[in-house]
């Protein structure tokens, strides 16, 4: 017998555990985040439960259903256009009052709603008393207690979904806006009813309220109708801004009245979360603690990964020597040994670093700390002309610039968003880490961890200065205000952190098997031809390319080999290290590469520092440029990002190298 189908949308404020609940229901592996932007795109999963096929759609986290951000439009449009059978609003029980604003708006969409009162454990631990019966009565929606992180209440929630699906009668409650506004709502509703298409498709009361609030997105929907002129005439006759303010005010009045009936707060105790916040958001200690924790993460990434890197390297060295030794003809042995195994192996050697860094970032994120980091950086961000929310994509940029740029969608103001998109590529992504590890490890010994950390700091500093520069030149204006979330601290679960680590680390491995493999084969071909030339020599095509660009790069301390590596790094930054292995003819043998680099008179500690700086700042990789084009919708800004990065990188690397030489290094 075929399962009956139910379509369920998960809505809620950011950081209420929506994604965790989604995972708990569907068992799907998905990134669990503490900041807005992670679930901008629709995610869906399936659960077979008691003979029902329940499709779950994870909507973006929003504070309201106005149309000020893409997140809100996506969430709202899904509910009104796709009409899911049930909408589950995940409510943070420890932050009930603020979550009710969205509840009041969801109620107006006239959809079957269930409230999942999540994080009940935290609210109860704090001493709050929650009155679920009263809540169901006032909000006219079933309420289920859940603790998604511990799988508590999930089956009860699904039972309720089935029950509501079979309950054909909908009877919701909505906010009343007072006589004057209600009269206007009725009048608009009456006009809207004249268009059967609109009347069939949308909840008309909701539509009327939104029109009164001056919602451009809803106005667009109406503008295609024959009744649009009549609506416009009516709206022109009123002060919409005043109506908007009054409507919001009425919602808050209603929430203030409802809230004490749903929950009594017993803030007798200061929870551990509050205690930690007292210190980590301290005016003087907050930023130094943040820097110290980030430094600790990089120190550990470097120190703990080394033996695992050595193991991988030994495996690849064995593979390369055995394959190269047993294959014929010679060129094939060279292609497989020097090119493919050497190049790809050189990249895969850094997998432990990448995995450890992502694991540590996931712990910080899962604990709720990164939201605080954004909070403590907000004042500074505002001073430099950036929106407070910009800090979150910048932090995500430590992993990969591509999702970081996509996460800027949660920034409402277009100028704020554009600036963030343009500066995110300066944040050092995981792909650049192998370059630092190789050169810092080779030339800076025990200080390697600190040098790597300084690269990350430099990336942030350049991003910040660039933002200030762009704000005062090409993208003038003031950053818009922002609301920041402070979710309670949680002990991050090992499973979630490992899944997050794997998802991001696997992307790196996939790249090694695709684009990097392709890149190293191209480099091998260019290093092997014209036929008969010494492999990777100055007479090869790769040597010719390097020599052509060398004059531009020489002032930075780079010879032709480094120049070639950097050119190919445009495809993916990991290729810089892979191509070094190919060009020095040592493949993935890290120790041999290190020895070759030390022995090469063209590369010194100073030029390697300059190389790290240039690699950090120069043009974004192809994937990042692609997403910049997609998100800005402009070739002009894409080209600007490309050229701006190259110029900034060249200038700073020049200062580092020539300055160092002047100081006698």
């Amino acid at each position: 017998m075929e399962n009956k189908k139910i379509r369920v949308a998960l809505a809620g404020n950011p950081n209420v555990g929506k994604t965790t609940l989604f995972n708990a229901i569907t068992g799907s592996r998905q990134h669990v985040g503490n900041w807005p932007g992670v679930t901008v795109e629709k995610k869906s999963g399936m659960r077979i439960y008691k003979g029902y096929e329940i499709e779950i759609i994870d909507l973006p986290g929003t504070y309201s259903l106005t149309a000020y951000s893409m997140d809100e439009i996506v969430a709202r449009d899904f509910i009104i256009e796709e009409k899911p059978d049930i909408v589950i609003q995940i409510v943070d029980a420890s932050n009930l009052e603020r979550n009710l604003y969205l509840t009041t708006q969801l109620m107006e969409l006239e959809t079957e709603m269930i409230i999942a009162l999540n994080m009940c454990d935290l609210a109860l631990e704090r001493g709050d008393k929650l009155y679920l019966d009263k809540m169901e009565e006032i909000l006219a929606a079933p309420v289920v207690r859940t603790v998604a992180s511990k799988d508590i209440g999930i089956n009860e929630l699904l039972d309720k979904v089935i029950e509501e699906k079979n309950n054909e009668q909908y009877h919701g409650h909505e906010i009343g806006y007072g006589d004057e506004i209600e009269a206007m709502i009725l009048e608009i509703e009456k006009i809207l009813t004249e268009d059967p298409e609109l009347a069939d498709r949308y909840p008309l009361r909701w539509m009327s309220i939104r029109l009164l609030e001056g919602d451009a997105n809803v106005h667009d929907k109406v503008s295609r109708s024959l009744i649009s002129k009549e609506i416009d005439n009516l709206l022109d006759s009123i002060d919409q801004e005043e109506y908007e303010a009054d409507i919001a005010d009425k919602r808050y009045v209603a929430i203030n009245a409802i809230f004490p009936q749903l929950c009594t707060r017993c803030d007798v105790k200061l929870s551990k979360s509050d205690m930690i916040d007292r210190v980590l958001t301290n005016k003087y200690l907050g930023i130094p603690i943040f820097l110290a924790l980030m430094w600790g993460a990089f120190e550990l990434t470097f120190a703990f990964a080394t033996p695992f890197m050595d193991m991988i390297e030994m495996a690849f060295t064995w593979l390369a020597s055995n394959v190269a030794g047993s294959l014929q003809p010679e060129w094939l042995a060279s292609l497989i040994g020097d090119g493919i195994i050497g190049g790809v192996g050189a990249v895969l050697t850094f997998v432990p670093n990448i995995f450890i860094l992502f694991f540590l970032l996931s712990l910080l994120e899962g604990s709720g700390y990164l939201s605080r980091a954004a909070f403590i950086m907000d004042r500074l961000m505002y001073k430099i002309g950036m929106h407070g929310k910009s800090f979150i994509p910048m932090l995500m940029g430590f992993g990969c610039n591509v999702p970081a740029i996509m996460a800027t969608r949660s920034i409402e103001d277009e100028k704020d968003r554009l600036i963030t998109i343009l500066v995110v590529p300066f944040v050092s992504c995981g792909a650049r880490l192998p370059i630092y590890v190789l050169f810092a490890g080779t030339f800076f010994g025990r200080q390697a961890g600190t040098v790597v950390f300084m690269m990350y700091v430099l990336g942030i500093a350049v991003a910040v200065i660039s933002a200030k520069f762009l704000r005062s030149t090409v993208v003038r204006g003031r950053p818009s205000p922002f609301i920041m979330e402070m979710p309670p601290y949680r002990v991050p679960t090992l499973k979630t952190s490992l899944v997050h680590m794997w998802d991001n680390g696997a992307m790196y491995i996939r790249k090694a098997g695709t684009i990097i493999l392709f890149g190293v084969v191209v480099i091998w071909l260019l290093a092997s031809f014209p036929w008969g030339i010494e492999y990777g020599s100055e007479g090869s095509y790769v040597g010719m390319i390097g020599h052509f660009f060398e004059p531009v790069m020489e002032p930075l301390g780079f010879d032709w080999k480094v120049t070639v590596s950097l050119i190919f790094g445009f495809v993916a930054k990991e290729i810089v290290v892979a191509s070094m292995g190919v060009l020095y003819g040592v493949g993935d043998n890290q120790e041999a590469l290190t020895q070759n680099l030390i022995a090469d008179p063209a590369i010194t500690a100073l030029s390697s520092l300059s190389l790290m700086v240039f690699s950090l700042l120069y043009m974004p990789c192809i994937a990042t440029l692609g997403v910049i084009k997609k998100e800005t919708g402009s070739w002009k800004w894409t080209l600007f990002a490309l050229m701006y990065g190259i110029i900034v990188a060249w200038i700073i690397a020049f200062i580092v190298y020539q300055g160092g030489k002047l100081l006698g290094y």
Binding site: L285, L300, P307
Partner: protein, 155 residues
């Protein structure tokens, strides 16, 4: 009811003082080394072999920072602000986090020596990786185990 925090006040003061002092030594020796300046040999030996403080400027900054958190807690508790206990709690947590980082780093070196038999680690002993973050972290661990149920305070 508010409990007596005498032990925690003394602990915060002592840990704050030791962390800050050791941090400053680590910071100064780290900078001195990068500038090519070295302390008298007896003092250097005492710092390195008795106190196990490596010359590491950023590590020193972290120690001073943890010390500052403890001192902040001491100052608040001493002036009668009960909430100062939050600083003692977070100071302990930070202390444990950085101890954990260096213990894992040392474990990495153990793998290099005993599993991979890396020649670069010839002559390495576990004492080479002992540093204030680790042994002061051990003190914090004892304090945490002792007081873990006390870190919920009443206003």
């Amino acid at each position: 009811m508010k409990e007596n925090n005498g032990h925690k006040i003394v602990f915060a003061l002592l840990m704050g003082a030791v962390y800050t002092l050791f941090g400053l030594i680590q910071l100064i020796t780290g900078f001195s080394r990068s500038l090519g300046i070295s302390a008298p040999e007896t003092l250097s030996r005492f710092i390195a072999n008795v106190l196990f403080i490596p010359p590491d400027a950023i590590g020193g900054f972290v120690l001073v920072l943890v010390g500052s958190v403890f001192i902040y807690g001491f100052a608040e508790l001493h002036s009668g602000k009960y909430e100062g206990i939050a600083y003692v709690y977070v100071g302990i947590l930070l202390s444990l986090i950085f101890a954990g980082i260096y213990v894992l780093a040392a474990f990495g070196n153990v793998l290099e020596v005993y599993l991979l038999k890396n020649e670069a680690f010839a002559g390495w002993s576990i004492l080479d990786d002992l540093r204030p973050e680790i042994y002061l972290g051990a003190v914090s661990l004892v304090a945490y185990l002792q007081w873990k149920d006390h870190f919920d305070i009443e206003n």
